[in-house]
Symmetry: C2
Subunit: 298 residues, 2 copies
């Protein structure tokens, strides 16, 4: 059984695309523009880091991936809705996302707000109803609680609010890390923990290892993002480079410098790999994802 990211990625990306398309509203005439806005922002784009993490965690823990399609779709829809809302003129005011016009540029602001709202609702509907998921309703409820917490005021939405209020301010390193743990880290952690929780008999030390792995790569992902905002180019990124700097957003390079940011990134990378020590080579995809996150160019 192959578990290298390069080998499984095409299959997993096709798989999540297929499942997302299945759950999204149909392209029929009734309310067609609205449905199209939801499909436009969700399909054909994105790195799908969170679904890949779910499948990789499932693989590392020897699970049937069919049971994890639902959680993978749900976490990606939460992520996509947050991008739609974050791009709005009243938020980050971005015109470009994943190399194409942002949702509000393509469909108008009101439709973008509602498309995001409906994607959030759909994420929870999937977790509550997907027939391929676990037959244990308590596990589903646990997943719903995990993602609801990670998406809400103690997670993604809360972190975005802290982010908004920190524009032009000088944060400490701890404050900056806290902001990112809320804003992106909690949802990444939720992805890994949801997949882990699907195997009820997982040894606690393995569950803890996965949780710590997720914490490390979540923060590493953001540090890499900040570095790319300086060193990346717009075409490769699919979004405007230097955008965070232009908005006066605090970044890791701002606070601890570019060199120290790269050192912190390597440390987190190492910690993520160490957290997986008790796993065999079925966890290689998770290891590859950690490598990918610190090396990625977009």
């Amino acid at each position: 059984m192959t578990t290298s990211l390069t080998q499984v990625m095409p299959t997993w990306l096709a798989r999540i695309e297929d499942r997302l398309a299945h759950w999204l509203p149909p392209q029929k005439r009734y309310n067609a523009t609205f449905h199209e806005a939801m499909r436009y922002s969700t399909l054909d784009g994105g790195k799908r880091i969170r679904p890949l993490l779910i499948y990789a965690t499932g693989t590392a823990t020897g699970q049937n991936l069919d049971e994890l399609d639902g959680p993978a779709c749900a976490v990606e829809m939460i992520h996509v809705y947050s991008l739609i809302h974050d791009d709005l003129p009243c938020m980050d005011d971005d015109d470009l996302r994943r190399g194409k016009p942002t949702c509000h540029k393509a469909f108008g602001e009101a439709t973008a707000v509602l498309a995001g709202d409906a994607l959030q609702a759909l994420a929870f509907k999937i977790l509550a109803t997907d027939p391929a998921m676990t037959s244990d309703p308590a596990i589903r409820l646990n997943m719903i609680a995990t993602i609801a917490t990670a998406a809400g005021y103690q997670g993604m939405a809360g972190g975005q609010a802290i982010d908004l209020n920190s524009v032009g301010k000088k944060l400490s390193l701890i404050e900056l890390e806290e902001m990112h743990i809320y804003k992106t880290g909690e949802l990444i952690r939720a992805a890994v923990n949801m997949a882990a929780s699907n195997r009820a008999d997982l040894p606690p030390e393995q569950a803890q290892g996965l949780n710590h792995y997720a914490e490390c790569i979540g923060l590493a992902f953001q540090i890499r993002d900040d570095i790319l905002d300086i060193e990346g180019d717009t075409e490769t990124l699919g979004k405007q480079s230097g955008a965070d700097q232009a908005l006066g957003k605090p970044t890791f390079p701002d606070i601890i410098g570019l060199k120290e940011s790269k050192i912190r990134l390597r440390e987190l990378h190492q910690q993520a790999l160490t957290a997986l020590e008790s796993f065999d080579d079925k966890a290689d995809t998770l290891r590859d994802i950690a490598n990918y996150i610190v090396d990625r160019v977009r």
Copy 2:
């Protein structure tokens, strides 16, 4: 046991206020503005129709209301988040809601978008975790599916999108009713059905009666809203009267006339009461809510 709305309303309103305050984020220093925006829009206002419907359905079916506090909070938070987003400048652009400045007027647009997003997440968190709710996880999942469907593209968000696209258009009566069933009817129906589903042994004909009651009062509520937009005054309403007309929104009086709208309202009222015929006087609160909806002045 008293079941008239007038007698139970003060208790039930205090009860829902207390439970909402319990679940909302604390007014602490960390992320205080964001938390305050969520609390500001949720507490101290609103008719609480949906929570009242939940408690009234629980009373009609002889349930312990403690198990229904979670669903009552969840449905109200979904409703409140939709009001916050609907009031945004890119949507209905309202300055006044429940007699005070709208969320974006008080806290800014970005915070308003995020406060709405976080309230939606919190609604699902409550349904997944409230310890006072049913010990049967399958019933919880069913409630989550019900409210997620009612809030999403096949419900509230979808209806709001249809509404946006119908400004300045001449709809047929059927199209207008369909829009309102999506926009407000589905969430009202969800409230009643969630409460009914909490009693697993409820006879199917009673469950169907409650569902039909909810369908009728949901549409009646909207027709009364449209009539109030013409006949009500801004001070009593707590929002601008004539606002829908000014926005060019299609209304029942536009399409079938004011007199016919009032006739349709009475018909739906009568149908709602007929749907409760198999219930004894424990359903009087539900009957009173139907009366209140057609007679209300705000």
